[in-house]
Symmetry: C2
């Protein structure tokens, strides 16, 4: 752990989760309680409960007397997670189509337009980030607390994979079209079409992941943001 130590005491749970999701802590990296306590400016006890919560989220794994590590999500598990997300975010899209405010729909269109522009410029990393914002917005607009929470936790298990899927050759164009369809159906208040579009989209991501990620996985695992 070569990270800069923070003195300001932040919530250990969120900080750890974000550091793992953001790739600042790598899969299989050992998480030493004392070091984390110093890093986040909290006590060892606070780190301990944060680790318990993250283990419950399946973000880390914990072996007795051997401590915690960032969990490695296998390709098969990533596909499972995407399947679950497809089902859950499908519901979210359906609910968003019914309950989103006009302002939220406007934001959806805005993100979709932004993605189209980024795609023209070939800016895949920013496109990936816009993708994350679009999914988060639909979850929020759904007003469905349960689905929102579950989907967010599934996401925190696989941000590394999510970053990569859009970078696979050819996926960006399809992804753009799929997102457009989701946004159009949602804005048209067509909940069934929105659900279908969202499920189809994430199913395709799962398939793309299944076909291509393992080739990338062989490369050395440096920080996710730098990949591509």
């Amino acid at each position: 752990m070569a990270g800069a130590r923070r003195a300001a005491p932040v919530d250990a749970y969120e900080a750890l989760r974000d550091d793992i999701a953001g790739g600042r802590l790598l899969p299989n990296e050992r998480l030493v309680e004392h070091d984390l306590a110093r890093r986040y400016g909290v006590s060892r006890g606070a780190v301990r409960t944060a680790l318990v919560r993250l283990e419950q989220d399946r973000v880390i794994v914990h072996e007795p007397n051997r401590g915690a590590r960032v969990r490695i999500v296998s390709e098969a598990e990533a596909v499972e997670i995407l399947e679950a997300r497809a089902a859950l975010e499908g519901i979210a899209a359906a609910h968003a189509a019914r309950h989103a405010t006009d302002e939220q729909l406007a934001q959806l269109r805005e993100i979709a337009a932004e993605m189209a522009q980024l795609h023209e410029h070939g800016d895949l990393l920013d496109m990936s980030e816009a993708n994350a914002r679009l999914h988060a917005l639909i979850l929020q607009a759904s007003g469905h607390q349960t689905v929102q929470l579950l989907a967010a936790r599934l996401n925190s298990q696989m941000v590394r994979f999510q970053y990569r899927t859009i970078l696979v050759a050819g996926r960006a164009r399809h992804s753009l079209a799929e997102h457009r369809e989701i946004v159009e159906a949602t804005c048209a208040r067509d909940s069934e079409a929105a659900e279908r579009a969202m499920r189809a989209h994430l199913s395709n991501v799962a398939r793309a992941l299944h076909e291509r990620v393992m080739a990338l996985a062989d490369q050395r695992p440096d920080r996710t943001r730098a990949v591509g």
Copy 2:
């Protein structure tokens, strides 16, 4: 808490979860760490981490300096949970149709037959229990780790409601038909039909809950198993 104290040290997390799911600890009941430690024969620290995990599962709620309580699941939340289960267990049914062993399919048919018999005898409580076994078996047969875990945790939030839904007048017959359809589609290895049937079933449960549970909720909240 008038419960009998156990001396044998059991896993506090599972024991607590089961006591809550089984109605031995009531919604909104205060969970005092010291008492739980004595009840399960473990230290206060072990109870503490169990409570952290259960809060992450949304089975309990925790207020700073005020301790933990069994979470009260509102009708709206119960409907949300059933919607999420419909999506997730739909996937499980689809996977079970593809991957279940012949022995698991035989068990499915057996449970379905058992439910039919129990229905004839009007034994709703045992029918409710068979229902739980059927859903658990499909989750297991799916081989889908992610969905299995998420569905199980959703379930642990609402066993009390689940017990009641089948007891609503008229639901038992419909429930029986819906389960038969799920089992038939799964045994026919028709994954799409199995998914549709499961989603339809749990959506109907959600609707029944929406229409009827609040009437029952007014009655005094004694132990769930005794309701009916």
